[in-house]
């Protein structure tokens, strides 16, 4: 005898679902609606303007620059974070001294605020960078990268990797720990070297973790905000203004509420499209491995 408690379950999920709808779905829909108006966010009235905001967004140099910066930042950071965290995870998973100490240390950045980490590095770049480059004899780089049009975005990449690699390291380490020793022993008998062992056994076994890390990293880095605000504020000359920063700055205080809403809608479509393509592609690779 099995009672169908459908009504009860429904009653129990309803409050959360309604709240989620009000505070997540409705704002998203409102954003889409405002993108078709000329509202500046303050005036009591507004009128519908059709696709004008969208047409203007595509012609806006500030917006295009923000996309360019955000994408090159997100792609490079995703690659470096994943390479670095995979290397750390492999090292932590081998027979090392002080294993627990290192594990604890390498995961520590995860609990630190990105904003504060970026403030700390802001000082580091302003006061130590030039000396270090001088010591290394790299004269070309003897300027504060945060004030340099070419170097600023790389400094932001650097700080982001410092803070973000920790979380991915733990995910990779979790993946590595699921691989049984037997697999390696079999391959050792076959005489496979370390390099072959990695691509033949280790990497295929952690491929699902690689997929999820790549997707989550890219999605997260495309929304970069805190570290940009703390390191450069979008400068110099706007070259490190990310999409999120542009929407925040001009949407709230630049009288561009509706216009930046249109920008946000495009940004949303782009992120969803990229996430889907990435998932498709990486899952296909996973199966081929």
């Amino acid at each position: 005898m099995k009672k169908n408690n459908f009504g009860i379950y429904l009653l129990l999920v309803l409050p959360a679902t309604i709240l989620f709808f009000i505070f997540h779905t409705i704002p998203a829909v409102m954003g889409i609606f405002y993108s078709f108006t000329d509202w500046n966010g303050l005036k009591p009235t507004y009128k519908m303007v059709g696709f004008i905001n969208y047409l203007n967004v595509f012609k806006d140099k500030d917006v295009l620059d923000a996309y360019l910066f955000t994408f090159k930042f997100a792609i490079l950071t995703t690659v470096i974070v994943n390479v670095v965290s995979l290397c750390i995870a492999l090292a932590l998973n081998s027979n090392i001294k002080l294993k627990n100490f290192f594990k604890g240390l390498y995961f520590m950045p995860y609990i630190l605020s990105m904003l504060i980490v970026a403030y700390i590095f802001n000082y580091f770049f302003a006061n130590f960078w030039i000396d270090i480059m001088g010591y290394l004899g790299i004269e070309k780089w003897m300027v504060n990268p945060l004030g340099n049009e070419k170097g600023a975005w790389l400094a932001i990449v650097f700080v982001t990797v410092w803070q973000s690699a920790a979380f991915n390291t733990v995910l990779y380490l979790a993946g590595l720990q699921t691989i049984s020793e037997d697999l390696y022993e079999a391959s050792a008998l076959d005489g496979a070297n370390k390099w072959k062992e990695f691509w033949g056994i280790t990497f295929p076994m952690i491929a699902p973790f690689f997929t999820i890390n790549m997707v989550l990293s890219l999605k997260g880095f495309l929304q970069v905000f805190d570290q940009v605000l703390a390191l450069t504020g979008g400068g110099p000359f706007g070259v490190t203004r990310s999409i999120a920063l542009l929407i925040y700055k001009n949407g709230f205080s630049g009288n561009e509420f509706a216009y930046q809403s249109a920008n946000a809608v495009i940004y949303f479509v782009v992120i969803v499209a990229i996430s889907l393509i990435q998932l498709r592609y990486l899952q296909k690779r996973e199966m081929n491995l």
């Binding site: 408690n5 379950y9 129990l12 679902t17 090292a91 090392i96 980490v117 979790a174």
Partner: protein, 273 residues
């Protein structure tokens, strides 16, 4: 046979990386413990006079204890309510997954993870202001609600790994869904609750953007937001700024040092699910 010798290459790599990780923290501490004249002489050398009073001065300037209280209230209430409500929603979804409404609900919550925050950022400020929720409690509500996306994924994954018969027997015995969940299922969720608690704590404590746009009154600001305001007001007092950064990071750092093994295994568990 695989050797069990120490891998010195990996050990050296990790030692080199440690320097890289610890240097910023060492620098932060050295900056926070000197006066600005000694900083000008040398940032990294040990101070001649240890100026612990910097922490007291910085605490007064940023109103540290008030911000600490705000951040603590947000984090504790968010985590508590998240654990109780999100687990329950996930349980209902998992139980009725055959039904298309609940299946749809599952994908509804999860797909929201791909909605970038900037698209809801502008309207949500208008909405919460109109509802009188542009304060600490509105912020807590948003954290609990937004957490659903990721937490439902974690909880449903974990619930699927539990034996199915446990709660069916209880329901047949006449226990209500409500009782069954709290008496039988919730205690079994302890490991994944730990994971959710850790992730939610780190998020609520360190989040910057949502408090930045939501909180109007200075008295309600959180620790990260206070650093941002402090930076623009007293940015010249390097030692006080760094004392303030250190104090903002200290609570989570201390918790982490005390419970790191538990925290790392908690996050690892979330990863495997």
């Amino acid at each position: 046979m695989r050797t069990k010798r120490t891998n010195w290459l990996a050990t050296c790599f990790l030692i080199a990386g440690s320097v890289f990780l610890l240097f910023p923290l060492y620098m932060t501490f050295m900056l926070s413990i000197k006066d600005n004249k000694e900083i000008a002489d040398s940032v990294l050398a040990f101070p001649k006079v240890w100026r612990w009073e910097n922490f007291i001065t910085a605490a007064e300037k940023v109103n540290y204890w008030q911000k600490f209280k705000n951040s603590s209230i947000i984090t504790v209430l968010t985590v508590t309510f998240t654990l109780f409500t999100n687990s329950f929603v996930a349980y209902a979804i998992k139980k009725k997954f055959d039904h298309k409404f609940f299946k749809g609900l599952y994908f509804y919550f999860i797909s929201a993870m791909f909605v970038p925050f900037p698209i809801i950022m502008l309207p949500v400020v208008k909405l919460t202001a109109r509802l009188g929720l542009d304060n600490l409690y509105g912020l807590i509500l948003l954290y609990i609600v937004y957490g659903l996306s990721f937490n439902v994924l974690l909880y449903v994954g974990y619930l699927r790994s539990l034996p199915q018969e446990l709660d069916e027997a209880a329901i047949v015995d006449g226990a209500s869904v409500w009782q069954t969940f709290w008496k039988i299922i919730f205690p079994l969720l302890a490991p994944i609750n730990a994971t959710v608690a850790i992730i939610t704590t780190v998020w609520a404590w360190n989040d910057f953007l949502l408090p930045l746009i939501m909180l109007d009154q200075e008295s309600q600001t959180t620790l990260p937001l206070a650093q941002f305001i402090f930076q623009s007001k007293f940015g010249q007092d390097t030692n006080l700024a760094f004392a303030s950064y250190l104090m903002a990071m200290a609570p989570l750092l201390i918790v982490y040092i005390l419970a790191q093994k538990w925290i790392i295994s908690g996050v690892t568990r979330g990863a495997v699910k």
